[in-house]
């Protein structure tokens, strides 16, 4: 560089031209991964000698310590299936407790982790490997491919993650990249990356949608593009909805037609796997052709079914309509009409199905954008963002939190601190208080999810704020601050305001749930909103009632002499009735008993107040007075 460049304060600094200015973009997928690079705003996927950009996310661990990734690893599937690992993305950031529930890894012995992390290990070919290490092997292979294609060493990357990836999975992805010798410049959500791939080479403004239908998951996001700013408005999806459902529908249809002819056949587990593969081939054929053949190997007998596209479309209409229903909800979440959407970006191989394109086109009143390969579009967007972060560009991503973050309060109720779809980075605080007189410590349980009860949300971390000075219940002021950085990673701090006692934790989840379950929780929350609200009201009523009882116990101990024995036994009778009501689940009974008790205790409260005033007038110091009332 011969000329010195001078920048306006705050504008992106241009780094010196050189080796490290080239960073790659990686779409680390469940089934396939893609690596891409962008130069001067133009992104291209990096291909192998056969011109293929897709790298199967599969790793083979040989007896001789040799490791193969991608197509080479797939080749070992027939001979040594127990040495081949696939779908490892589903285990990223998961704990031992979750693994049993996740399909596809049961073939391996799974060991709980040791030490500070509870990371699972898969026993493969005599080695115990964490999902982070296995993902690192895939990332390393992608880096090597990029280095071969570009003829230079690469040390930096932008890696994409699903919008629903939680804190643990994001951290695990970052760690895997580091193991593979890649510094992650930024984790970018997949739909955002896809929009980026379409946005930069065209001068677009307005609201865009990203429709991402993969093999087993569906994601839908709304983004606003304005003068190089990408603002995520809302996101939603279903983690158990995808192209695999189309394959299944075809196979089920074929079996049903056999049964109708009186030749019913029940698939054995190994037959089912090959039948679904046959279903997929037929589906792919129907993308281009009007009719195709489905060949099923039933009881060693190859049976051929002819199917035309119209019949296929009738079969897959229900799952496709479900994706359209989710689109409608996300639109309504963001208060946006389909006609406001300027373009719909298609992502994922399943969006090649003509019916999908037709239904999406019908909802939005315009044909979707499909001129970029839906399998490569995410990696291309990541590459563009990698270039933006190294060389500098005017493009800016403003992402949101995909799930709400909160604190468990009394009774297991979640108090949301950061709602979902809040722009990041974000730092929000909320004040909490003590529940009992003289409470010296408070456990803070950090959770993620949309449900009202902490038990139904994902637990992220638990920590304790100690050293709260002795105070009356409700007097302490504990300020809990949640900070989410631009990568979507959370830090929580708690401070007792009168003394300044502070505790801070980096949220590193110690155990987890599957990605599927996490997303399911989000959708379940819609259906359970009503039921949750009832549960919440009940618990709130109980907490209120218990608070009243605690206060009265304390007051009776201090000033019980203000009551006649008859008054006292009446009051205690009401207290007993309230305790009985609390033990039950009838919210109205609790509220009624609490109201009756409150009414009954009014006289007592008035007398206590009189005594307080008299004491003050008779020259007692404030301290003495408080110790009496307190």
């Amino acid at each position: 560089m011969t000329l010195l460049e001078i920048h306006e304060p705050g504008t992106t600094p241009l780094p010196h031209a050189g080796e490290d200015t080239l960073a790659i973009g990686i779409d680390l997928g469940t089934t396939n991964s893609v690596v891409a690079v962008a130069r001067e705003g133009r992104a291209e996927a990096l291909r192998d000698d056969h011109g293929t950009s897709l790298v199967p996310s599969v790793v083979y661990y040989g007896a001789d310590g040799k490791t193969d990734v991608g197509g080479a690893a797939l080749a070992h599937l027939t001979g040594e299936p127990h040495r081949v690992v696939s779908s490892i993305k589903r285990l990223m950031g998961r704990g031992a407790a979750d693994v049993a529930a996740i399909a596809g890894v049961r073939a391996y012995a799974v060991e709980p982790g040791t030490g500070e992390t509870d990371m699972v290990r898969l026993r493969i070919g005599g080695r115990a490997l964490t999902p982070v290490e296995i993902s690192a092997d895939i990332l390393r292979a992608l880096r090597v491919r990029a280095e071969a294609a570009l003829g230079r060493a690469i040390g930096k990357a932008v890696v994409t993650v699903p919008a629903y990836f939680d804190d643990a999975a994001r951290t695990a992805t970052r760690d895997a990249a580091r193991l593979a010798g890649l510094e992650v410049l930024r984790l970018v959500n997949e739909p955002t990356a896809a929009a980026l791939a379409y946005g930069l080479d065209k001068d677009v403004e307005g609201i865009y949608a990203v429709y991402d239908l993969g093999g087993g998951t569906f994601d839908f996001s709304l983004l606003r593009l304005e003068k190089g700013v990408f603002q995520v408005l809302a996101t939603g999806g279903d983690s158990a909805l995808g192209g695999d459902d189309f394959d299944r529908a075809l196979v089920e249809h074929a079996l049903a037609s056999m049964a109708a002819r009186g030749a019913s056949h029940v698939l054995k587990p190994d037959e089912a796997k090959t039948a679904l593969m046959a279903g997929r081939r037929a589906k792919e054929a129907l993308t281009a052709a009007a009719r195709a053949e489905l060949v099923l190997d039933l009881g060693g007998q190859p049976t051929t079914f002819a199917i035309d596209r119209t019949a296929f479309e009738t079969l897959i209409a229900p799952p496709v309509d479900r994706t359209i229903g989710i689109c409608a909800r996300v639109l309504s979440d963001a208060a946006i009409e389909p006609s406001d959407v300027r373009g719909v970006v298609l992502v994922g191989g399943s969006t090649r199905v003509p019916l999908v394109r037709e239904r999406v086109g019908r909802l939005f009143g315009k044909p979707p954008l499909a001129d970029i390969d839906p399998d490569e579009v995410v990696a291309l967007g990541a590459a563009l963002q990698a270039e933006a972060l190294t060389v500098g560009s005017d493009t800016l991503l403003l992402d949101v939190t995909p799930l709400s973050l909160g604190i468990e309060t009394m009774g297991g109720i979640v108090e949301k601190v950061i709602p979902r779809n809040t722009p990041i980075p974000v730092s929000l605080a909320q004040e909490f208080t003590t529940y009992q007189d003289g409470q010296g410590a408070m456990v803070l349980h950090v959770v993620q999810g949309e449900r009202e009860m902490a038990a139904d949300c994902r637990s992220l971390a638990r920590f304790e704020l100690q050293g709260i000075p002795p105070m009356a219940a409700g007097a302490a002021r504990i300020r809990v601050t949640f900070t989410v950085d631009a990568d979507g990673l959370l830090t929580v701090a708690a401070q007792e305001k009168t003394t300044g006692v502070t505790q801070r934790v980096e949220v590193k989840p110690t155990y987890g749930i599957s990605e599927d379950d996490m997303a399911r929780m989000l959708y379940d929350s819609l259906e359970h909103a009503q039921q949750d609200m009832e549960g919440r009201l009940l618990i709130e009523a109980r907490v209120e009632a218990e608070r009243l009882l605690l206060a009265l116990d304390a007051a009776l101990a201090a000033d019980g002499d203000l009551l006649t024995s008859a008054e006292r036994s009446e009051l205690e009778g009401d207290m007993g009735r309230l305790r009985t009501a609390i033990a039950g689940t009838d919210r109205d009974a609790i509220t009624a008993a609490a109201q009756a008790l409150e009414e009954r205790s009014k006289v007592f409260a008035e007398r206590r107040m009189d005594r307080g005033v008299r004491s003050a007038l008779s020259g007692l110091s404030l301290d003495q007075l408080e110790s009496k009332v307190g």
């Binding site: 306006e8 304060p9 705050g10 504008t11 992106t12 600094p13 780094p15 410049l185 930024r186 304005e226 003068k227 190089g228 700013v229 603002q231 479900r322 229903g325 409608a328 909800r329 309504s332 979440d333 933006a388 972060l389 190294t390 005017d394 800016l396 991503l397 403003l398 809040t422 722009p423 990041i424 980075p425 974000v426 730092s427 929000l428 900070t483 950085d485 631009a486 819609l526 259906e527 909103a529």
Partner: protein, 212 residues
């Protein structure tokens, strides 16, 4: 923080740039002398976005200011700077997001302005304490539960949307006149209408999903 004079106080006190030691002019995000990013400080949300402190906000202008500032302050703009500058940009961007989220939502904006006037408001999402409003809310909710078709739900949602518009109109005038009691009532009404709209949306969504 919700004090209208907060911005003025910050600029009156001034501060010293952590990087070059120069006195900074006020709540500016960058040092005027050396250009280094500064801590966000306690600045009124309207002042942070360079807007007049009024209930009526021009959304286009709000978005434009927000994007302009994020373009300068977002952590991605500091990817290759020092750890301290990265941390400050993170704080600046978070403060900006908080201001933007507060001002772009009419209910949050109204609550923010009302609190600085000393209007006593129940916590967000808490129960309605006006018996008349409570009765109306219950009747409307009942109608929603009884609605049998998406069109009926739509009708209820549209009615609520119309009333919401009226409340927003009235709030502009009430804030101009600093009528605290009426502001309080209007905010409670707005909160209830927002909540009802959300419930109607959820109901319509569940109807659409339940269809074969």
């Amino acid at each position: 923080m919700s004090n209208p004079t907060a911005a003025a106080t910050a600029s009156a006190t001034g501060a010293t740039c952590w990087s070059c030691g120069a006195r900074t002019a006020g709540p500016a995000p960058f040092c005027t002398a050396c250009g280094a990013v500064q801590p966000p400080g306690q600045v009124d949300h309207f002042a942070r976005l360079g807007l007049e402190r009024l209930f009526e906000v021009d959304m286009t202008q709000l978005d434009r200011r927000y994007f302009d500032l994020q373009r300068q302050l977002h952590p991605d703009r500091f990817a290759r700077r020092t750890a301290r500058e990265k941390a400050l940009s993170q704080q600046q961007a978070a403060a900006l997001n908080e201001a933007y989220e507060t001002l772009r939502n009419p209910l949050r904006r109204a609550r923010y302005l009302a609190r600085s006037l000393g209007v006593d408001l129940p916590d967000e999402g808490r129960t309605i304490d006006d018996p008349e409003l409570l009765m109306e809310a219950m009747e409307r909710r009942e109608a929603l539960v009884e609605a049998a078709t998406p069109a009926q739900v739509e009708q209820l949602a549209n009615d609520a949307a119309g009333e919401r518009n009226d409340v927003l109109q009235s709030l502009s005038a009430l804030f101009a006149a600093t009528d605290k009691a009426a502001i309080r009532a209007a905010i409670l009404r707005l909160a209830y209408l927002d909540k009802f709209t959300e419930e109607a949306r959820a109901r319509r969504f569940s109807m659409v999903r339940a269809e074969p």
